[in-house]
Point group: C2
Chain length 202, copies 2
Amino acid sequence: MRGELTAKGKTTRSRIVEGAAAVLREKGVASATLDDIMARTSTSKSQLFHYFPSGKDELLVAVAQFEADRVLEDQQPYLGCLDSWEAWEQWRDVVIKRYEAQGDRCPLGSLFLQVGRSTPGARAIVIELMCRWQESLAAGIRAMQAAGRLPDELDVDMRAAALLAAIQGGVSILLSTGQSTHLRAALDQGIADLRRAGCAVV
Amino acid sequence: MRGELTAKGKTTRSRIVEGAAAVLREKGVASATLDDIMARTSTSKSQLFHYFPSGKDELLVAVAQFEADRVLEDQQPYLGCLDSWEAWEQWRDVVIKRYEAQGDRCPLGSLFLQVGRSTPGARAIVIELMCRWQESLAAGIRAMQAAGRLPDELDVDMRAAALLAAIQGGVSILLSTGQSTHLRAALDQGIADLRRAGCAVV
DNA sequence: AATACAATGGACTGGACGGTCCATTTTTGA
DNA sequence: TCAAAAATGGACCGTCCAGTCCATTGTATT
């Protein structure tokens, strides 16, 4: 199956994944049906099962991977060069903008509650996303250390982990309440605490 | 309907809610059926619709309220008396313990992705929970101010919001990856930053 | 005791939806 | 050019499951 995809086949497959992602964002995972996806992507049911032989769950996992890849891409190029406090602020703005635009739709979150424990590979997608995200933040902190703006004895990984958690929490509160105040607080306070760690004598 | 519940009726109703909560925790919202709940609570389908006339969603909302009430209860009495750094540490331990025990089951999170936007009252439950939680944290910070352990010029609400976001994020990462390291980092770093805010000259 | 109403039991239904199957068309590669 | 394999179309099926309906049992109140 996997190596034998024609060029035409590949485009159809990705059309399905992208269309499915759109449908899931609009209708939510729970209420999106294969028929919705067929309608959106102009495909037939046999095509769906041709490209995703083990059915809906396999398609959902593919969509999850697709969405996961977008999360970090959307934060570039800012996330990739956190080497000055101005860069950190710009990145902050992009994150807030992205998630405020997304509103109360969480493609990844809902996907994993649906597919989550049933499909083994699903969790791996989230774990990899979190690792890459945290590593980017850690790289930013190290860049600030290298620039002499942060002390070397900082526990970089722990700070990155805490910051990532704060962002995730801000997003999840945004998802469930519709308000971005917590995301803003998390980012502003997180960056402020990071800066403060530079001068504190503790 | 609502005032006309016999004593017997009330006990049956709460038996349904509690049993349904247990079923949802075990099987997940997506795959839990009314038949599962009937089996667990030794009730018939007519009883379910007798006590929750508008059907499954109404029952799910009731379960959500039930679970939401438990969230803060489980953190007591520690959350209620954050008046020393030792108290903060004890509260930290309880939160970690609770969520590590809960593992990757999130009764509330999944409930809202299921019922969320369809039911109007659902979101209100989460919002109220978040408000009460944040207010408890804010009260703790103010208590520390009153005790002279934190400066008065602290932005209490923002700190409480950021801390709440960090916790939520730690929990949601725990849910999706199965690891509690981020929750621990969020709490430890959050409390440490709070303490540091006491001596920083910024 | 009688009546009214709440509580319970359980059969039945209607539709939604994932998945299967086979026929047909298109592309590939020798 | 011509088979072999991939891509597509779409009818069909089986099951699951929320919700309905009516009959029966229990329980207050007068």
